[in-house]
């Protein structure tokens, strides 16, 4: 790629290129500073950068046991999250990787220990506190052997979510994780591959978590059974495990690449002929979604321009030209070559944000893109989304949110204000107007919080879900012990 970079300013492309040659620590700091300076922003670039970095962390890490690896990833993840807490996907990807490693370790161990597992299982709480190093490390590293850890780490997490999340979460939130643990430990005992939930059985696309590929790789490791040989086995298996973890992360990266197309696959179920669809700002996901529907059907799209933060990009998306500054800074080659909706034979109407309410009565469906989705089913989206959702509510128009699962965060903030970032006021008032600059206080929020009751349907790469069902997907994708990985004070 010789001519991707137009200038010197670093961005995602530069970061990924540098990742190959840079020292790991430098890469981490590099990403942190890029996040801080907002040179990598928006969900997808952040997710891609995080996943690639974690891949690198795993590849470079000289690990002796899983616990250390988890610790390392937690530590790196914590730094990334602190760098830019408002990009919630960073935390999501870290949690996904952590969960995946835990799964792999569990699988791996179940292969190793299937004959002795029952003994270990029963003894482990005592051993964990009394035994010398080799077994202890294993005990810590695998979730099966540490119900204590589970209970402890679950407690704050669940109280946290319970107290915040009134309706949907409460019954399952408190009980599910221990239940799942017992389930999985049974599964482990039987040496069966883990199916974490009914949901994964039904899901159209295979989640990287649910199809463990390591069964082929690792059976030969499980022969020795006594405590003395455990360390050796760990060393042997960790190599395989490493490959598995790496392939797991690569799967996540693939998922990030494909997520838009997967979501677009559902488009034709939701968009019908001659409908009028209202959307907002310039999201590739939404655009692909609509383009896919346009393959078979003719409909009308009304695009609200989302002034002042995203209107240039929106205009560019509508007209099909690549916005000058966006094209260079967020180049994922795919996005550059998206053809505009009009080319697909769709009537596109660009409208101002102020006209949304007036135009809403003519709209059949509202499709929103999102920045992040919160466990309660609410979402953080480009500023202006809430007005649209609210207007749709008044007119009883269904609101559909198109969002990859990677944007779904288990975090549930104490106050939503803390998730909303305030940008450059210069977008609203020009800086050269000295009088206004001096006398006005200008807030330019980049995002809006849309509460779950304003959303009717989520379309993720796994299918369509009601907002109240999102907690389930959260539970499937993130381990309860990882939810607060970035807040050591909430962990035990």
């Amino acid at each position: 790629m010789p001519s991707v970079q137009a200038g010197y300013a670093p961005n995602l492309g530069v970061f990924l290129k540098a990742l190959k040659t840079q020292q790991l620590e430098a890469s981490i700091e590099h990403l942190i500073s890029l996040l801080k300076r907002r040179q990598i922003r928006n969900s997808r670039p952040c997710a891609i950068a995080t996943a690639h970095l974690l891949l690198r962390v795993v590849a470079r890490f000289k690990w002796t046991d899983i616990g250390k690896l988890l610790q390392r990833i937690q530590e790196v993840g914590q730094r990334l999250v602190e760098a830019q807490p408002k990009e919630m996907v960073v935390g999501n990807i870290v949690r996904r990787v952590l969960g995946m490693i835990r799964d792999e370790a569990k699988e791996d161990r179940s292969e190793d220990m299937s004959d002795t597992a029952s003994i270990t299982q029963i003894d482990s709480p005592q051993r964990e506190t009394s035994d010398p190093a080799p077994l202890r490390t294993i005990g810590v590293s695998t979730a099966t052997a540490s119900p204590l850890r589970f209970g402890a780490s679950n407690a704050p997490g669940s109280t946290d979510t319970d107290s915040d999340d009134g309706s949907a979460r409460t019954p399952q939130g408190g009980h599910r994780p221990p239940l799942m643990t017992s389930h999985t430990s049974y599964a482990v005992l039987n040496g069966l591959p883990v199916q974490q939930s009914m949901f994964n059985l039904l899901s159209a696309t295979p989640s990287p978590l649910s199809t463990p590929p390591q069964q082929i790789d690792s059976p030969q490791a499980g022969s020795g059974i006594n405590a003395a040989s455990v360390a050796q086995r760990v060393a042997a298996s960790s190599k395989d495990l490493k490959a598995e973890v790496i392939s797991g992360i690569e799967e996540i990266i693939d998922e990030l690449d494909q997520v838009d197309d997967q979501m677009a696959g559902y488009a034709q179920e939701h968009i019908h002929s001659n409908e009028v669809i209202l959307t907002h700002s310039s999201s590739t996901s939404v655009q692909k979604f609509l383009l896919k529907a346009a393959e078979k059907r003719k409909f009308t799209v009304i695009v609200a321009e989302s002034y002042p933060n995203d209107h240039q990009a929106t205009h560019a998306a509508v007209t099909g030209s690549v916005a000058p500054d966006l094209g260079s800074s967020e180049d994922t080659s795919l996005e550059m070559f998206l053809k505009p909706l009009t080319a697909a034979g769709i009537t596109v109407v660009l409208t101002t944000d102020a006209a949304i309410f007036a135009i809403m009565s003519r709209v059949n469906k509202v499709i929103l893109a999102t920045h992040a989705v919160i466990a309660n089913g609410g979402l953080i989206a480009a500023a202006g989304a809430r007005i649209i959702a609210k207007a749709a509510k008044v007119h009883k128009i269904p609101v559909i949110v198109v969002s990859g699962v990677y944007k779904l965060s288990p975090e549930y903030p104490f106050e939503f204000e803390s998730l909303i970032e305030y940008g450059d006021p210069g977008r609203i008032v020009k800086y050269h107007d000295g009088n206004l600059v001096d006398n006005l206080e200008i807030d330019n929020p980049l995002y809006d919080y849309v509460p779950p009751d304003l959303v009717d349907l989520y379309i993720t790469n796994l299918g369509a879900h009601a907002p109240s069902y999102l907690y389930r997907i959260v539970a499937d994708h993130y381990k309860p012990e990882d939810i607060n990985f970035h807040k050591p004070e909430l962990q035990f």
């Binding site: 040659t21 020292q23 620590e25 300076r37 000289k62 006021p425 210069g426 050269h432 000295g434 206080e441």
Partner: protein, 731 residues
């Protein structure tokens, strides 16, 4: 630890690999297109500490490390460079270089010690350079710069993506080798703007079709004539021309190595704009070099080069204009600012009493505690500060470890590290309280006072100054800071073309700086102006005096116009005089010109009779005293005569000069400013010249003859003794 070693080795390998690949790529590109060195890494030169007025703070600490919104200024600059993708950085330090070095080496930027540094190399160049010019000449001599580089100052705050400007610069340079420099300028509107420099307005004359800068001049706020001297050739050569005064000069220059060569050639250039830019543009015919402008209308770029701009930029940071360079981006590791609703930005561990109001646009550092009933607005408070109960803080910038007692009011002040303010104090606007000063309870600190505890350096001997209880109260520590006492070194580093001190006479601009720099520029000006003179006036002798004359006249004229207070004008005038080493004759000339100009104006514009006009001008409060003490000094006759000569000379080219001269003479005699002997002698001298006297001069004094005759009569009446005496003297 072995692990660490390995990773370090890996890094070295990686570095090498990258270097190799870079080289290869560069070579490939070079083969194709010799001019296009896009793949080359970008170099930057940071001038850390050469310009700027931050007294008394900069006495003890380097300016670029002073905190702005709790983050050292230099961090913003380096952040900007990292954002622009700069690879190699040279930081030039003037004074306090050891401290800067220590800071840089401990920071994340220093590549040998911090793997996280985005830069490939960062070199601190400690030099004895005392000005930007010296530094750049030194840089040229070192031969470090081989390709285009960014020249910035260590006090730059900017979120500007520079790629577009770089590309434009490169395109120009490929087309024309003589396009040596591109300046980045930010529009700021024609009206008042807090971030525009108050004292000096840079005027850029540009050709918008080519983005070329044609002429550069600086205008002072109090300059009487708002004229530019533009070479008439420019008008014929360029079809279109823009004269812009609405630009913020953020000091970002994209330079080719030729720029350094030019600096080296002209050893008398000291500052980048007034000297270098002005000079190079002026010498276009000679050297053919062109300098271009890149005028940006989006994004933020400004320099905190004095306290006035410090305040403006602090406000901009609080207002998030510099986004993403805002406190809650936590640019320095270890910061944990969070932005909350209503614009409060606070770090972890801040303790707010339940009834305190820490509101709008406020930043609070870690472990700061605020007591009950206190109110904070538009302020920045550093780490570990203790703010008592019922304290009111408005528009104040409080650095780390400050203690403020109960019931104190702080308004628009800067309080430096570790200062202690007692309870029930009142800190009035534009106060600067330096490091470690202690203000005892129940003290009211006067407006515009600058209080420091630093040792005063005189003749290279550090001298501990006793605290002044009148200022800091009984038991307080600190004394009033006077710039005039500064050592030569200190004054040199405050090398700047700010004339913020001139603001003092215009009431409208009552910012912190105007008060701060009341004396500050004075000492530095001498050097400055002499250099300026030598360039702008093509080495004409005594040109520095032109500068002095110009500034002095405009200052006085303004005072006269506004019926202002001559006491402050006098202060300013004396400052100018000291800084320029102006001779007594020059002073008299300046005063004479100012007064005659004013009288002439009154006569012409308001149709006053000359005598009334004179009465009005000289009747300005304090004018009499001013004239007596400054213009004619200790009553020496020669001085008085000289003053009359000056008046006469200046009135030659004014309308009704003769009438005015008569009126002025009469007036001055009445006011006892000038004595009759002086008048008589002056008259005699004029008469003696006879033919030698220029025609105009003779013409101007004709009307005064009546007055002189009257004087003579009066004298002869008063007695012949005196007469004899005076005649003896005159011989």
């Amino acid at each position: 630890m072995s692990h660490a070693h390995k990773s370090a080795k890996g890094a070295a390998g990686g570095e090498k690999g990258r270097g190799a690949s870079k080289g290869k790529r560069g070579a490939g590109a070079g083969a194709k297109k010799p001019e296009d060195d896009r793949e080359e890494s970008l170099q930057a030169v940071v001038l850390a500490d050469f310009e700027g007025h931050f007294s008394p703070f900069s006495q003890e600490k380097p300016k670029c490390l002073l905190p702005l919104a709790n983050t050292p200024l230099l961090e913003y600059t380096l952040e900007f460079l990292a954002m622009s993708g700069v690879a190699d950085i040279y930081i030039y330090c003037g004074a306090h270089s050891a401290e800067i070095e220590k800071y840089i080496q401990a920071s994340k930027w220093y590549p040998p010690l911090s793997p996280a540094s985005p830069f490939k190399s960062l070199e601190l160049v400690k030099s004895t350079a005392r000005s930007v010019g010296d530094a750049l000449r030194d840089l040229d001599a070192r031969d470090l710069i081989t390709r285009d580089f960014l020249l910035v100052h260590g006090d730059l705050v900017s979120n500007l993506p520079i790629d577009a400007a770089l590309a434009a610069h490169r395109a120009r340079r490929i087309a024309d080798k003589n396009a040596i420099m591109t300046m980045i300028l930010r529009t700021a509107g024609l009206g008042q703007h807090r971030t525009k420099s108050g004292g000096v307005t840079p005027v850029f004359v540009c050709d918008p079709t080519k983005n070329r800068c044609l002429h550069y001049e600086e205008m002072h706020a109090l300059q009487a004539n708002k004229y530019l001297n533009i070479d008439p050739d420019l008008l014929s050569d360029h079809a279109e021309m823009e004269i812009r005064t609405d630009l913020i000069d953020c000091g970002i220059d994209i330079c080719t190595p030729d720029v350094l060569a030019l600096w080296a050639e002209s050893f008398d250039y000291e500052v980048p704009r007034r000297h270098f830019l002005h000079g190079v543009l002026k010498d276009y015919e000679l050297n053919g070099k062109t300098i271009h402008t890149e005028i940006v209308e989006e994004h933020y770029a400004a320099r905190a080069f004095n306290l006035q701009s410090y305040e403006a930029i602090s406000k901009d940071v609080l207002g998030r204009w510099t986004y993403p360079l805002v406190p809650d981006s936590n640019l320095i590791s270890g910061q944990s600012y969070k932005f909350e609703r209503g614009g409060l930005c606070k770090e972890n561990g801040v303790m707010l009493a339940r009834t305190c109001k820490a509101g709008k646009r406020t930043v609070l550092g870690r472990d700061t505690s605020i007591g009950d009933g206190s109110t904070l607005t538009n302020s920045i408070v550093g780490r570990r500060c203790i703010i008592g109960k019922n304290v009111t803080i408005r528009d104040a910038y409080i650095w780390d470890d400050v203690v403020i007692g109960d019931g104190t009011t702080v308004h628009r002040a800067i309080i430096a590290h570790e200062a202690v303010i007692g309870s029930q104090c009142k800190i009035n606007p534009a106060t600067l309280i330096s490091y470690g000063v202690r203000i005892s309870d129940n003290t009211e600190v006067k407006e515009k006072s600058r209080i420091t505890r630093a040792k005063r350096i005189e003749d290279d001997v550090e001298e501990v100054v006793p605290s002044d209880p009148e200022i800091v109260g009984e038991g307080g520590k600190g004394y009033l800071f006077h710039e005039d006492d500064e050592d030569e070194d200190e004054s040199n580093e405050s090398f700047i073309y700010s004339t913020a001190h001139l603001n003092i006479s215009s009431e409208s601009i009552s910012t912190i700086t105007s008060s701060i720099s009341i004396g500050s520029p004075t000492t530095s000006r001498s050097r400055l102006s002499s250099f300026a003179g030598s360039i702008s006036d093509d080495g004409e002798a005594g040109s520095s005096n032109e500068n002095f004359h110009h500034d002095a006249v405009s200052g006085l004229l303004d005072t006269l116009k506004e019926n202002g207070d001559f006491d402050s004008a006098k202060l300013e005038f004396m400052g100018l005089r000291l800084s320029n080493d102006a001779t007594d004759h020059q002073i008299r000339r300046a005063i004479a010109v100012a007064f005659t100009k004013r009288i002439a104006q009154l006569v012409e514009q308001e149709k006053l009779e000359p005598s009334k006009a004179a009465a009005s001008a000289f009747g300005t409060s304090g004018a009499e005293n001013f004239l007596k003490t400054v213009a004619v000094g200790a009553g020496k006759e020669e001085d008085q005569i000289d003053f009359i000569h000056c008046l006469q000379k200046d009135l030659v080219h004014r309308n009704q000069g003769a009438m005015i001269l008569a009126a002025v003479c009469q007036r001055l005699y009445q006011m006892d400013v000038l004595e009759e002997d002086a008048f008589l002698r002056w008259w005699e001298e004029c008469e003696m010249l006879a033919e030698g006297e220029a025609e105009e001069m003779a013409r101007v004094r004709t009307k005064t003859k009546v007055f002189i005759d009257w004087l003579r009569e009066a004298e002869s009446e008063s007695g012949s003794e005196e007469d004899d005496e005076s005649e003896d003297e005159s011989d």
